[in-house]
């Protein structure tokens, strides 16, 4: 049973307008930026934040225990036009080079335009939540002030400005929380008033206070400062002492604790706007004026605390139950599985996944060795977590997301063509490696456009070993080239960011202590996630070359090369043959072995990059595509798996769309052959028809299915339990399926709010 307030809030959320906007933020921010334009950057940042938090409307909803909401309006035409013009003022005259120096990395032009250059952050990280609740905002402000007063940084004005800005920011947050205390008092809500008054400065002492304090920090960081996509770190661990103390001292029943957790979870959903940010074709996304609007926040539960010690506790159970009963898209709960995990808890996790709640599973047994290989210290590795979309992190010890979607199919095309690419659009061969990883691709972290490789010393392959060597050579060429360019970029960004502050610098480990923002090196870890994309397409293509050219000797390599170059014009027979060859996902050893070849080649290059690097950043390999697998296929010629030119590449760790037809056990067997002990993240989408796993008996089967996958070395699992017929019906009658919540890639979405293209993609996945 959900608390009454939460039921009401969910209902209202579905009913709210797509255009609802926290408009005050834009107005207040604009006033403040003008007012404080002459202050040093970090000080200005603090003043602007304070200006907004002193004035934004305090909203307390009737019946809620945990407060903290923003006032939304539906902007009229004039307001909308004014806001749209602002973004033109901010960004229109800024060159790509300058954007890159300032912000380094962003999703898309649509995403950037809502962001004032001052209050800029990409989010995607975890604060030190434990320090926030254990020490309180007052302590944080005093610590920063103490560092200024100590004289340690007296000869570095940038650092003094940074710390001064930080003090302003902490105090500004205290101001807003005190205003909540005042309002709650006026409304006669003495309990809430007392909690707010206390946590405005002091540490939390109860579960209620802890959740309320975290929520205020989230509200400010995300809705005001735009720091989207949080990881909440291991919430079942750091909240446990508060919960146990409350229970021991009789302040709280377990049911009341559950109610608070549910409210906190729902708050994350409450601040979301409608839509799906990856469905860029939809108007809801285009017209949104918010700085964060549908970003998922990740909560990590269970997992090992240290070797052989399980972290599953009462709160882990409660959080799974909360997720199960809520069925919302936010937060996104990551369960860390390990050998010997409590079977009752594991069964609850599977049951919750079966009900389409937003729960995914990661495997500690593969993640921990992978993180150790790619630069994480033993003392930190057990604390790993994730943020969207399925990227690993060491919470509180690193800053935001930096990534490259590594198109693993390009090296195949380049290996086949001796290092040159065949440009589908231009209808000719292209060879211009200097055009690889241009500014735009580095900015959005995507290999778009045509890529060229290394033509030196090319010899026509005489065996599959030769061909694989060519694949590895091209992959290595591309990634080392990327590293070289990125390292220069980061130096420029670090130079630019001196003395500047972002909201996350307030709550990471190392930034305040060193009076240095994370970008300039304040935190312990800096990494770039190398998102290996198109695994199955690369695997199927290599297996097809092996089969057709070297084993069966049915076609020559050149015959295949010519057919791919012309997109099978007049060679449909060859395409049908290639298409009919066995594919990844069907538990066929001759094909699946290439998953090991491709993954190891990829990891070897990434390991080499880590050895060669000179900058702050290390590199971590994942297998993940988000929804960019369509865009990443656009410039690729046809491939030897029978895929036509320009068609999508495979999604995340899945087989090529519809290629897995041997049942879900075959799928899981294939995927578990990937050497995941070297891969640090990325999702596997599994779709099951509800009828196959219904009832208690069905749950036992599902639990066994997932247990075996984990034991065999699978890394991640996320489930959609829905039949094609239901999805088709939802397209026809969206109003009857408004709460059908599906896992997309690293986030969930309400199916009926997704764009048409994204919907079709989901419908075409294999349902087992």
């Amino acid at each position: 049973m959900l608390p009454e307030y939460v039921e009401k809030s969910i209902d209202q959320w579905f009913k709210k307008s797509d255009e609802a906007t926290f408009f005050e933020r834009i107005e207040l921010q604009e006033e403040a930026v003008k007012k404080y334009y002459d202050k040093p950057y970090a000080v200005r940042y603090g003043k602007v934040l304070n200006y907004i938090l002193e004035r934004m409307t305090v909203v307390i909803n009737e019946g809620e225990k945990i407060a903290g909401s923003v006032k939304e309006i539906i902007p009229d035409d004039e307001q909308r036009e004014w806001a749209e013009n602002l973004s033109c003022e901010w960004w229109d005259d800024v060159s790509e080079e300058e954007k890159q120096r300032r912000i380094m990395f962003y999703y898309s032009p649509g995403w950037i335009k809502r962001r004032n250059p001052l209050l800029f952050t990409f989010g995607h990280l975890s604060f030190d939540w434990e320090a926030i609740i254990n020490k309180g905002l007052g302590w944080h402000a005093e610590r920063a002030q103490g560092l200024i007063d100590s004289g340690e940084f007296a000869d570095d004005q940038d650092k003094i400005d940074f710390l001064t800005g930080a003090v302003e920011c902490y105090k500004a947050q205290t101001v807003l929380i005190n205003r909540y205390a005042d309002e709650a008092g006026k409304a006669g809500n003495d309990a809430l008033s007392a909690v707010c008054r206390k946590i405005a400065c002091e540490p939390a002492e109860t579960l209620y206070e802890a959740l309320q304090l975290i929520w205020f920090v989230v509200l400010i960081s995300q809705k005001v400062a735009g720091c989207g996509v949080f990881c909440f770190d291991r919430m079942d661990q750091y909240l446990l002492p508060y919960f146990e103390k409350d229970i021991a001292e009789g302040r709280l029943t377990e049911e009341e604790a559950f109610g608070l957790i549910v409210e906190f979870f729902n708050k994350n959903n409450e601040i979301l706007d409608h839509g799906d940010h990856m469905s860029q074709e939809s108007d809801v996304v285009k017209n949104n004026l918010e700085v964060t609007y549908d970003d998922p926040n990740y909560i990590i539960i269970a997992g090992l605390l240290s070797k052989g010690v399980s972290g599953v506790n009462k709160l882990s159970h409660m959080m799974i139950r909360a997720q199960h009963e809520l069925g919302l898209r936010n937060p996104f709960v990551v369960v860390r599985w390990h050998e010997g995990i409590d079977p009752e808890f594991w069964s609850e996790v599977c049951d919750s996944m079966r009900s389409n709640s937003t729960v995914v599973v990661y495997n500690d047994e593969t993640m921990i060795p992978a993180l150790l290989e790619f630069g994480i210290d033993e003392e930190d590795v057990y604390g790993y977590g994730f943020y969207g979309c399925n990227d690993p992190l060491i919470p509180k010890k690193e800053g935001g997301l930096r990534q490259l979607w590594v198109n693993l199919v390009w090296p195949f095309e380049l290996a086949l063509n001796g290092g040159s690419a065949f440009c589908v659009g231009a209808g000719d061969w292209v060879h211009d490696p200097s055009a690889n990883f241009d500014m735009r691709d580095r900015l959005i972290g995507l290999m778009s456009g045509v890529y060229s490789g290394d033509t030196e010393g090319y010899k026509e392959p005489e065996s599959m070993e030769d061909f694989i060597a060519g694949y590895k050579k091209q992959l290595r060429f591309l990634l080392l080239q990327y590293m070289e360019k990125m390292e220069e970029d980061y130096l420029k960004e670090q130079e630019y960011s001196r003395g500047r502050i972002r909201i996350e610098d307030l709550f990471l480990q190392g930034t305040i202590e060193n009076a240095t923002n994370w970008i300039a090196g304040g935190t312990k870890y800096h990494k770039i996630t190398m998102q290996g994309s198109g695994l199955a397409t690369a695997v199927d293509s290599l297996a097809a070359i092996d089969q057709a050219v070297f084993k069966e000797k049915k076609y020559s390599l050149d015959e295949i090369r010519q057919a791919l170059r012309t997109d099978f014009a007049d060679r449909e027979d060859l395409r049908i043959y290639l298409d009919s060859l066995p594919k990844f996902g069907n538990d066929v050893e001759e094909v699946d072995k290439y998953a090991t070849v491709v993954t190891n080649a990829f990891c070897d290059v990434v390991a080499e990059m880590n050895e060669k690097r000179t900058g702050l950043y290390t590199y971590m390999p994942t297998l993940s595509t988000d929804r960019d697998f369509t865009g990443m296929g656009a410039c690729l010629a046809a491939t030897a798996d029978g895929r036509r030119a320009g068609e999508q590449i495979s999604e995340n760790q899945s087989p090529y769309m519809g290629a897995d037809h041997s049942g879900v056990t075959a799928l899981l067997n294939s995927v578990s052959k990937v050497p995941f002990h070297r891969i640090t993240g990325g999702p596997l989408n599994v779709m099951l028809h509800p009828s196959t796993i219904e009832g208690d008996d069905g749950l036992a089967k599902l639990t066994a299915l997932f247990s075996v996958f984990m034991k065999r070395g699978g890394m991640q699992l996320q489930l959609n339990v829905v039949g094609r017929e239901e999805l088709l019906d939802a397209q026809k009658k969206p109003e009857q399926h408004k709460n059908l919540c599906v896992r997309v890639t690293g986030y969930s979405a309400y199916f009926v709010q997704m764009g048409k293209i994204a919907q079709e993609e989901l419908i075409n996945r294999t349902v087992n």
Binding site: I576, D587, T665, N669, S691, I693, A700, L705, K711, R712
Partner: protein, 301 residues
């Protein structure tokens, strides 16, 4: 030669969750001697390989005719014409087809090949208490192959289930039982006249065999497909309950209401139309059946 015997299979379903306990692989053996009117897989009845053509998918590209080495397929006025007597079932037209309109139904496997597929999911069987189910068609029609398969599976401790209609000489049933851990027994009706109308065979032999089986010590789950107005009367249920009441090894009865979900959409028009006349029993049928069987001490699964 051990493991070299061949069987003809028309489908292998992995992660099968409805044919016995746990996660299973269900192997459908081709060939059946009961001809149920509502059968979802009419191709499974004939015990031989056959070429299936789906005219709805055909794009009349003519590649099949080019590929055919034996002159069994040609294009006449832009349409595919097929001569059954010339076809060697080589499959060349199937690989050449660009529209997935052709398929060889039924594949020959050696026992070893089939075992190698079954064994791939051994971890899943062990974790879930599952195993392998041999279904059909009527698997007992390929009795020697079946025994070989059962022996291979039992030798490594895989749980085995046999899905049968028992419309076959008793000694052929008895011969496989030493390697069978569970029998899924299909009872398609008690009234012999209706049974004949619905399935084309009498149920006399089936009932005789069922009674013998009941005392062989092998656990039995009875499965009753129920179609509205064909075999969904209370009298049928009462007769079935009476019939099975005393069986010592009866684990329970599964009622399988007719549904159109599994109907192969590639069936030709007539066959699809024929399926439309079948309906699921009324929604309270299962409750009535549960009440009635429970009163006789029989569990509804």
């Amino acid at each position: 030669m051990y493991g070299k015997m061949k069987g003809i299979i028309f489908n292998i379903q992995r992660f099968s969750t409805k044919d016995g306990p746990g996660i299973r692989t269900t192997v459908f053996l081709k060939g059946c001697n009961v001809n149920c009117a509502w059968c979802h897989n009419p191709e499974s009845i004939d015990g031989n390989q056959m070429l299936r053509f789906d005219s709805k998918l055909c794009i009349s590209c003519g590649r099949c005719a080019v590929a055919c080495p034996s002159g069994a397929t040609e294009m006449v006025d832009g349409r595919r014409v097929y001569y059954l007597d010339k076809c060697t079932l080589c499959g060349d037209c199937v690989s050449a087809c660009g529209a997935d309109a052709l398929e060889i139904v039924g594949e020959n496997y050696t026992a070893e090949e089939l075992y190698n597929i079954i064994i791939k999911d051994e971890d899943f069987y062990k974790e879930s208490g599952g195993g392998v189910t041999f279904s059909g068609g009527e698997p007992l029609l390929q009795q020697e192959f079946l025994i070989e398969m059962l022996r291979l599976c039992k030798a490594v401790g895989i749980h085995t289930a046999l899905d049968t209609a028992l419309n076959i000489e008793w000694d052929r049933v008895e011969a496989v039982l030493p390697w069978v851990d569970l029998v899924l027994l299909d009872i398609k009706g008690m009234d012999s006249r209706k049974h004949f109308q619905n399935t084309g065979v009498s149920n006399e032999l089936i009932h005789k065999n069922a009674v013998k089986l009941a005392y062989m010590g092998v656990p039995i789950i009875v499965r009753m497909p129920v179609v509205k107005e064909l075999n969904d009367s209370i009298e049928e249920l009462e007769a079935a309950a009476d019939f099975m009441r005393a069986w010592p090894n009866l684990k329970g009865v599964e009622i399988l209401p007719y549904h159109s979900l599994g109907v192969d959409k590639s069936l030709e028009y007539e066959a699809l139309e024929a399926q439309k006349k079948f309906k699921a029993p009324d929604s309270d049928f299962i409750d009535k059946a549960r009440e009635l069987f429970t009163a006789s001490g029989i569990k509804i699964l």
